[in-house]
């Protein structure tokens, strides 16, 4: 707001503050209103072209940033930054190592972690939730709400990547080699044999989540890896025959919605003391443990969709 802005622009304090705030990589902030004005004018003529507008065209931002760094003596700050970062890392690692010396011994029987909570999980887990694999019982029944949140983290991550990378339908593909990753013959032949096996194994992990190590997250990751391998070797057009954006939406949103319904039913009846109508079944059988099996399958689909969506978004900017 000052009229003598130039004077303090070159002062040590301002330069240091700019460095701290990370403004050194870009031209001065004063450009901001100028190019905003320009946007307002140009938008009227050509709205599309200016949407991803970054800098006024006359200024090459990289050149300008370099010149600014030279002029303001940023090299010294950079060196200082390296030293300080190293010191900080050493200090924090030292602190954490120091901390380990005072923690309870790992794996010993009389630590605070062996208390009534873990006891109940291990002793009564099978009886109360109907699972053989206690871990699944803990994450999907005892702490079902946390896992519900965790699944939404994955969903949200895909949405965030979509905001960043999804291109409009009329936009050119990001990659030079177009939409289709070209798999060579070796890859295609191997994928021909491997993909069905990977899918089968993924499904096996999914439906056995309550019986053996595995479950929704790991099984879904395997399924997603299978999808990625398929589309990497046979191309996106081949994948689109059975997995296009529409099916992706249906599977992803459908499985999340069903999962939400199941978990809401579980949480609501549990909290209000209403008896659940879902039988737990006989522990050890495939169809057992009540809501855990369907939830595992739904979480698996959600995770597989997330994995594939990341690949497709980074590869071609869409599904």
């Amino acid at each position: 707001m000052s009229k003598i802005r130039k004077n303090y622009d070159t002062s040590f304090r301002t330069r240091f503050r700019r460095y701290i705030l990370g403004e050194t990589e870009l031209p001065e902030v004063d450009y901001m209103p100028m190019y905003k004005k320009q946007i307002a004018e140009e938008k009227a003529e050509d709205e599309r072209a200016t949407e991803h507008y970054l800098m006024p065209p006359e200024v090459d931002p990289m050149e300008d940033a370099k010149r600014y760094a030279e002029l303001s003596g940023m090299r010294w700050f950079r060196r200082l930054y390296g030293v300080m970062a190293l010191l900080l890392c050493v200090a924090i690692s030292g602190l954490l190592i120091y901390n380990v010396a005072f923690m309870p011994e790992f794996g010993s029987a009389d630590t605070a972690m062996t208390n009534e909570v873990t006891e109940r999980y291990i002793e009564k887990g099978q009886e109360e939730t109907g699972v053989v694999n206690t871990v699944t019982g803990v994450i999907l029944q005892y702490r079902g709400f946390d896992t519900f949140g965790e699944t939404h983290v994955l969903f949200l991550a895909t949405i965030a990547v979509m905001i960043l990378l999804k291109r409009r339908k009329d936009e050119e593909p990001v990659r030079m080699d177009g939409e289709n990753p070209g798999g060579d013959r070796i890859l295609r032949t191997m994928a021909h044999f491997m993909v069905p096996l990977i899918f089968l194994f993924g499904l096996y992990i999914l439906v056995n989540g309550h019986l053996s190590p595995g479950g929704g997250f790991s099984g879904g990751a395997v399924l997603g890896a299978g999808l990625i391998l398929y589309s990497a070797s046979f191309g996106f057009t081949a994948t689109a025959r059975f997995f296009n954006e529409r099916i992706y939406d249906i599977v992803k949103v459908g499985s999340l919605m069903l999962y939400s319904l199941l978990i809401i039913y579980y949480l609501f009846t549990g909290a209000n003391g209403i008896d659940s109508i879902v039988p737990l079944g006989k522990a050890g059988a495939i169809i057992s443990s009540g809501l855990i099996l369907p939830i595992n399958i739904l979480v698996g689909f959600e995770v597989a969709c997330t994995m594939y969506a990341f690949f497709a978004l980074f590869r071609k900017g869409g599904l």
Partner: protein
């Protein structure tokens, strides 16, 4: 069990389910759904608030079939319900105030993605408010971080991407520290439930076992939350993130996102560690010092800005400093004042961002103070909003900011002598600094340019914009004039914490 006890759970689930639903809706419908969900959550939370006021104790809601240390639970008292109601109110007002700018800033095919972020942000804020479990808190801190990133980069400019990257790096560092701290606490207490950790920590302190890991856990947690809510030395990500994003995003980010983390820290201090143990570790002195530094540095930086939204963003740093200063005073009254300041700052700051966008709209889209000359005359409701927000920020009587400053000063009188003197002096200096930039900007907004043609004089902001401004002004005035009942609720809620 009364059915009202289900309301916090229903709010959280409503917000979480509406996220995936929005991803298959068109942008317009997703926006309507989002606003409906936020309003319904606000109404349900208000009912919960009325209900909790009649109870002597907060109620606990078991999430699932298994009671607390084995399963998850949420806990709703006066404080939680008050914060939830208020957050929903501010969120819906920010959304409808920025609706017009959303249309121009966000491309059509990404509009529904924006509202997914809003819905899940609401879910995470509500869960952070209601949770009684450290790990649930961490899960929703993650959701909060990712959705805030989405809000920053939705505009798609290079600067937004840069700001979102900065925010993400800093915020993930904070999340990491919080997670390490929770793991250490679990290692030495064996619990994740807040009340159980509280008893275990009291035993540890009494028997002088594992004191070092406890202190380190407290330190890591405080630093992690301080990074995420932009306390002074960690504020580098804040100005870009707040000032270049679209109107609703800036309003929501500045008023709610950082406050969600601060509420989590409050829960940590009172419900997990206990304020006595927190004081014993010395973390309150550190927070106090950096809070005072933030109050001054943020204001001094704000004075140097020529860009109105960057000025408001830097003023956020100062206001966050106030809140941490209250934490650091080490008395109960300081905490209550901080909680009240969360309300005062959230309402005034979101109003300032919405009105700054309104002012810039009638100035050719520029945010520079020179271009903004006379914009308060051209866009009257935005001008009035900006004046009210500025007066509240500076701390003029009748407005919310004044009340919270009075409470801070009162709280300081109960603290140790050195803290008392430092706080009072810092409050005075900071008020003058606030006045320097806010009053100057207000004057500049109301000074017409020479030879101005006033071709925009018949500009009339839309109904939604005027409505949100009107309600914002009422909130600021209510917080300023009728602060006593709210203050009582906060102190009652905080006394229920321990």
């Amino acid at each position: 069990m009364d059915f009202v006890r289900n309301f916090p759970f229903i709010c959280i689930m409503l917000a979480m389910v509406s996220g995936p639903v929005s991803s298959v809706l068109s942008g317009k419908k997703a926006g309507r759904l989002s606003m409906l969900v936020v309003s319904v959550c606000g109404i349900l939370s208000a009912v919960t608030l009325v209900y909790t006021l009649q109870l002597t104790e907060p109620f606990v809601y078991t999430m699932g079939r298994f009671p607390a240390p084995f399963g998850n639970e949420i806990r709703a008292g006066v404080f939680e319900a008050l914060m939830a109601t208020f957050f929903c109110l501010i969120m819906v007002l920010s959304l409808i105030g920025g609706l017009k700018y959303l249309k121009t800033d966000v491309p059509d095919e990404k509009k529904n993605l924006y509202f997914i972020m809003i819905n899940l942000l609401l879910a995470s804020l509500l869960s952070l408010i209601y949770t009684n479990d450290m790990f649930t808190g961490y899960v929703f801190v993650e959701i909060n971080t990712i959705s805030a990133c989405g809000l920053i980069m939705i505009r798609g400019w290079g600067r937004n991407i840069l700001a979102a990257t900065k925010y993400m790096v800093m915020s993930l560092l904070g999340s990491g520290l919080v997670l390490v701290s929770i793991s250490i606490l679990y290692g030495i207490t064996g619990h994740l439930l807040m009340s159980n950790i509280h008893t275990a920590v009291a035993e540890l302190v009494a028997s002088k076992n594992h004191i070092e890991p406890l202190i380190i856990a407290v330190g890591l947690f405080s630093v992690g939350i301080a990074i995420k809510s932009a306390l002074f030395p960690f504020h580098a990500w804040l100005p870009d993130a707040y000032s270049y994003s679209t109107c609703s995003s800036s309003a929501i980010l500045s008023s709610l996102v950082s406050k969600g983390y601060i509420l989590f820290l409050m829960k940590f201090i009172y419900r997990v560690i206990g304020s006595d143990v927190f004081k014993m570790t010395g973390a309150d002195d550190v927070l106090f010092l950096f809070g005072i530094a933030a109050m001054l540095v943020g204001s001094i930086d704000a004075i140097q800005q020529t860009d109105i939204s960057r000025m408001i963003a830097f003023s956020s740093i100062a206001q966050i400093g106030y809140i941490y200063m209250g934490f650091g005073l080490g008395v109960e009254a300081g905490m209550v004042a901080s909680a009240f300041h969360i309300l005062a700052h959230a309402s005034a700051k979101s109003m300032l961002f919405v009105s700054a966008n309104g002012l810039s709209e009638v100035s050719g889209g520029s945010m520079n103070y020179r271009d903004l000359r006379g914009s308060g005359i051209r866009n009257r409701s935005a001008g009035i909003g900006f004046v009210v927000g500025s007066l509240s920020m500076v701390g003029i009587p009748l407005f919310a900011g004044f009340t919270s400053k009075v409470y801070f000063a009162k709280a300081a009188l109960g603290a140790t002598t050195s803290k008392e003197i430092v706080t009072l002096i810092a409050l005075a200096i900071s008020t003058i600094l606030n006045a320097m930039y806010f009053i100057r900007m207000t004057l500049s907004v109301y000074t017409p340019r020479m030879n101005e043609h006033y071709e925009d004089r018949d500009f009339r902001p839309g109904f939604t914009y005027r409505f949100s401004m009107f309600v914002f002004i009422i909130i600021v005035l209510v917080l300023g004039i009728l602060s006593n009942p709210i203050f009582d609720w906060i102190s009652r809620g905080l006394s229920q914490f321990s």
